[in-house]
């Protein structure tokens, strides 16, 4: 028998020494860490900002455009709405939505003229009005934020307008330009911005609609297109000031005038959007220098505005930071609201200078789980409610009203809800021979399906009850929308005890029989009716929804074929009119019925006119009434016409009037002045934060728990010690 001697390769005593030292080290460090500061360990923000007057929120997708001539998405408005100041804004508190001046002195009142240029009275018939003129007087004394484009040298020339290409090569951020300057906002900047809307190189989404109304706009687009082509070399600088636009006239330093074709009362709503915010020509001059775009320095990335905030950090892969614009002209918090606002504390800050916070930090959170948990930990001041966390946050009372769960109430979390000015609908392609057209049979078929597809159930299952069943195309709060019994769609609903009750399936089946499909089978062929549903989503997430949709049609014996595809192909089918049934939606640009009813206006048809009428509905009577209604002021006569239009639509049923989504948002008790305003994009300036309360609650909710670390270490020791013992035993043992 061989006997191996003990080898001193591993000093097992070292293990014990190491373990003792580690225990001592861990035991001494952890309590130190626990007491090393008052802040919670899991706070994601610097300790120096713990008590700052800063709002913390998140965003899930990087905004694509921050150029006010191009930006047209809600996630972009969340930022540029706080930076740019168009002439008008929506009153923060009053409902229905009311336009009030922002950078303008007053809400402009149009002057009307006939073809000969004679002034017409305000109540002149629409057909006599050839032109409308809006004279806008802006507030003197407004200044732009500090910006390198406005920096000047001692001799008064612009410091960064003639940069050497080698200088630009060394620059990667706007902050790499050490000097900034500012100047007063003038009327010329508004004129300049309207001209930018026409610049083909900017691709403004409202260029086409402005071409219809602003006098000389189409010609100006062509002029700029030609001028751009003749630009020498790499220079992208086109001085729009030297190109006159007929319909936009600079009157003096603080006044300009916009001349429109005909009467277009909705134009004032566009004046409340950032498309019409002032833009200094210096910004275009600065950003258009060769090499700037290649260094990612452009208006899409670095805005320049006169609003209450400026974008001081733009890293949309991590965070975006808005800080108070030191040059902001000042604006008081509204002193009037609607009934109930005072009781709700919405007028506590009346008259105080805005903005009420110094800074807003928006962090990128792509995933719902970390975003929700950080909100619950107090690190975000506000949050939406995802489907995953809905049951944890919200419960419905016996009356169907949404209330917060006990867990939320204990944290002093509040809930704000509002029916959005949007609609989701199920569209019938009216160009389709089976379900479209104006034949009585096809209309009965659409009406029958409208009854069968139960959107009350849809809202309950797929939206956690966050929606209101639509009775027509106009959401609540939009002029023309009717409440109560008067607003009920009698084609789909009966009125029972003053409430709408969906008609019975028996009535739907009778309509099917009248349509030529008794029991869902064709009278002529005897075969089951097969309809195609176009879906832009085919993943496992949408499986339940698509099954539900099949079930709705099966109630009438209709066989629904799901044609799932990607969004590009889905859009292509709509453009070509090859789809049959599809879900679609619309979010209002402005609170006017025209912005919804135009979705069913014949000359807006998607197939023939590349418009927004995705179902290609074309009813001459409806079209005539639309043309009459769109230019009217909100009068009883307008309401009457709208009522007739809505009745035509309900009867023809080109849409199943799906639902108006209901927005739910949660916010902490330290976050003040929260009132949903679905039209205004610039409400950050009204928000109030109590940073001391926030810090106290963050600390109370996030005490570090270290005992599991000790336990883990103990487990490690308990595991390692027998192993070491075993090793020593084995090393000492004899070979067998």
């Amino acid at each position: 028998m061989l006997r191996f001697g003990r080898q001193p390769a591993i000093d097992t005593g070292c293990g014990g020494w190491l373990s003792r030292r580690l225990v001592l080290l861990l035991a001494s460090i952890l309590p130190l860490l626990a007491g090393c500061g008052e802040r919670a360990w899991n706070a994601p923000y610097p300790a120096s900002e713990a008590e700052s007057n800063t709002l913390y929120s998140s965003f899930s997708e990087r905004p694509k455009h921050l150029d006010p001539a191009r930006s047209y998405a809600a996630n972009e408005y969340a930022f540029i709405g706080q930076i740019y100041e168009p002439p008008l804004q929506y009153h923060f508190l009053k409902r229905p939505y009311q336009l009030v001046p922002l950078s303008a002195e007053e809400v402009p009142h149009p002057a009307f003229f006939d073809r000969q240029g004679n002034r017409l009275p305000d109540d002149a018939p629409v057909e006599r009005i050839a032109f409308s003129e809006y004279e806008i007087r802006i507030r003197p004394g407004m200044n732009y934020q500090p910006h390198p484009a406005l920096a000047k040298t001692a001799d008064g020339s612009y410091r960064y307008h003639e940069l050497d290409p080698t200088r630009i090569e060394s620059v990667n951020r706007l902050a790499d330009f050490p000097h900034t300057g500012f100047r007063e906002v003038t009327a010329e900047d508004y004129v300049y911005q309207v001209k930018r809307l026409a610049d083909p190189s900017i691709h403004s989404p409202i260029a086409s609609i402005m071409s219809e109304y602003i006098v000389g706009f189409p010609e100006f687009v062509s002029t700029l297109g030609g001028a751009r082509k003749s630009l020498p070399g790499e220079s992208g600088w086109l001085d729009l000031r030297s190109y006159p636009l007929e319909g936009v006239e600079l009157l003096d330093r603080y006044r300009f005038r916009i001349r429109l074709h005909g009467k277009y009362p909705q134009f004032v709503y566009w004046l409340a959007m950032t498309f019409f915010a002032p833009m200094p020509w210096e910004a275009d001059r600065f950003y258009s220098q060769p090499g700037m775009a290649e260094r990612n320095i452009n208006l899409n990335w670095y805005p320049i505005g006169s609003g209450p905030f400026m974008l001081s950090e733009n890293n949309p892969n991590l965070r975006m930071v808005l800080t108070r614009n030191p040059n902001f002209h000042g604006e008081p918090y509204p002193s009037q609201g609607e009934p109930g606002d005072r009781e709700a504390g919405m007028l506590e800050d009346a008259g105080k200078p805005l903005p009420l916070i110094d800074k807003a930090v928006y962090s990128l959170e792509k995933e719902v789980i970390p975003r929700w948990n950080k909100f619950l930990q107090g690190y975000y001041d506000t949050s939406g409610v995802s489907s995953d966390s809905f049951d944890q946050a919200v419960e419905f009372g016996s009356g169907g009203e949404a209330t917060l769960t006990d867990e939320m109430r204990q944290k002093d979390i509040r809930l704000a809800t509002a029916v959005e000015t949007s609609i989701f609908y199920l569209g019938f392609n009216m160009a389709d021979p089976v379900i479209g057209g104006d034949s009585a049979e096809n209309r009965y078929l659409r009406q029958a399906i409208s009854i069968a597809v139960d959107f009350e159930e849809y809202i309950s299952i797929f939206s956690n009850g966050r929606g209101v069943v639509a009775q027509g195309p106009l959401p609540p709060g939009i002029f023309g929308s009717r409440d109560g019994i008067d607003g009920i769609n009698r084609v789909v609903f009966d009125v029972v005890d003053g409430e709408p009750r969906r008609k019975s399936l028996q009535e739907a089946r009778e309509l099917m029989a009248r349509a030529g499909y008794p029991g869902g089978k064709s009278e002529t062929t005897g075969k089951a009716l097969v309809l195609n549903y176009e879906s832009a989503s085919a993943g496992p997430d949408s499986k339940h929804l698509l099954n539900w949709m099949r079930k709705q049609f099966r109630k009438l014996g209709i066989q629904l074929v799901i044609r799932a595809t990607d969004y590009n192909r889905f859009q292509e089918k709509l453009r070509k009119g090859t789809g049959q049934l599809f879900m679609f939606g619309w979010n209002a640009d402005y609170p006017d019925p025209e912005n919804f009813l135009f979705l069913l206006y014949g000359p807006n048809g998607k197939v023939e006119h590349a418009g927004e009428n995705a179902v290609n509905y074309d009813n001459p009577e409806f079209n005539r009434l639309f043309e009459q209604m769109k230019n009217m002021d909100n009068t009883p006569q307008r309401q009457e016409i709208i009522d007739r239009m809505v009745e035509i639509l309900r009867h023809d049923a080109p849409w199943i009037w799906g639902f108006y989504p209901k927005g739910f948002s949660l916010y902490h008790g330290w976050y003040g002045n929260v009132k949903p305003n679905l039209m205004a994009n610039n409400t950050l300036k009204y928000k109030r934060i109590d940073p001391r309360t926030r810090l106290e609650r963050q600390q109370a909710w996030n005490p570090p728990v270290v005992w599991p670390l000790y336990l883990l270490f103990l487990l490690l020791v308990v595991t390692v010690v027998p192993a070491i013992h075993h090793y020593r035993k084995r090393e000492r043992s004899s070979a067998r």
């Binding site: 991590l318 792509k366 859009q571």
Partner: protein
């Protein structure tokens, strides 16, 4: 060896062209230039003129692969494919379809990716090799059996579970580190602790089992028996002989992934809010930004080829028997 390296680089050129063609075809099978324009211009009030203008500005108004209206070589060069591809081979990634300098964005986003990937790789290697050696040392004992069971269980669990579970346990229940976020400099450490720990733990199951297999294979070889016969302790046998000889497959696995560390991890970066390269390609696909997609696929291919080349070179360093020719 230089001739070998040069030959491998030359081999890489047709591979990269092939990858580029494949990427191009796959992308444009799903997205047309019109779709791309619509995605970038927005969904509301987009006119055909605006779409045409957008395409013309970015060179997407040309034919995809073959220009019938041109003659000779121009039929191939005056196409979207040629115009968009040729600069890639000069490593000029150009401007994205959303007007961003791709090279600059990559240079900015690769550091956060590396900040997670490098510690995960190094710490993971250390932990996995140590654990595997430990198991190999205690082979055929209860430690070995239960460690293998543990490893199988750990590698059967989805990576997403580790992330969500780790965030829940460490950040939500114990409140030790932030759930997500990132910062620059030293402040980044507190945001990196959890993703690195989760990355390491998530890799223990598969890593340890792989290394255990390698070590056990070596342990049964003749030279190990000789070493024991010489009277060396088991620890010396393991660390001085077995580990050294098991280095070739370890190197194969490690060196090949080194260049790809730049590319980041999509899921980890998404859940932890790390502004790395992991989500860069996916975001670009979702935004139909072909410029970024082709640049990232090209870069990934180059890095993969580089990784394989480095692996071959590293063989010669650890095994004198291997010669590149």
């Amino acid at each position: 060896m230089i001739a070998y390296i040069l030959r491998r680089i030359l081999y890489a050129i047709p591979i990269l062209i092939g990858v580029n063609v494949l990427t191009f075809v796959l992308f444009f099978v799903v997205n047309s230039p019109d779709d791309m324009a619509r995605m970038h211009l927005g969904m509301k009030r987009v006119t055909p003129e605006a779409i045409q203008g957008w395409k013309a500005e970015r060179g997407y108004d040309k034919p995809l692969l073959l220009n019938d209206s041109r003659e000779g070589l121009e039929a191939l060069t005056d196409t979207i494919f040629f115009q968009k591809s040729v600069k890639l081979f000069q490593f000029d990634f150009g401007i994205s379809d959303s007007d961003r300098d791709i090279g600059y964005d990559i240079s900015q986003r690769m550091w956060p990716s590396l900040a997670i990937a490098v510690p995960v790789l190094l710490v993971g290697l250390l932990v996995n090799i140590t654990y595997a050696l430990l198991i190999a040392f205690f082979r055929a004992t209860y430690i070995d059996i239960w460690s293998v069971v543990l490893c199988v269980v750990m590698m059967s669990i989805s990576g997403l579970f580790y992330i969500i579970g780790g965030q829940y346990l460490v950040s939500k229940l114990l409140h030790l580190v932030p759930i997500s976020g990132y910062d620059t400099g030293v402040s980044a450490i507190k945001f990196l602790v959890l993703p690195v720990i989760i990355g390491v733990i998530g890799g223990i199951g598969s890593g340890t089992r792989w290394y255990r297999t390698l070590f056990l294979e070596e342990i049964n070889r003749d030279y190990v028996r000789t070493a024991r016969a010489k009277g060396l302790s088991e620890a010396v046998v393991l660390f001085r002989h077995v580990l050294k000889n098991a280095m070739i497959p370890i190197l194969t696995g490690v060196v090949v992934v080194l260049p790809l560390l730049f590319m980041g991890s999509l899921i980890t970066e998404s859940f932890f809010g790390i502004p790395g390269l992991g989500s860069y390609t996916i975001d670009a696909i979702n935004r139909q930004d072909f410029a970024i997609v082709r640049a990232m696929v090209f870069l990934g291919s180059v890095l993969y080829i580089l990784g394989l080349l480095l692996t071959d070179i590293s063989y010669t360093l650890v095994d004198p028997r291997v010669r590149l020719s």
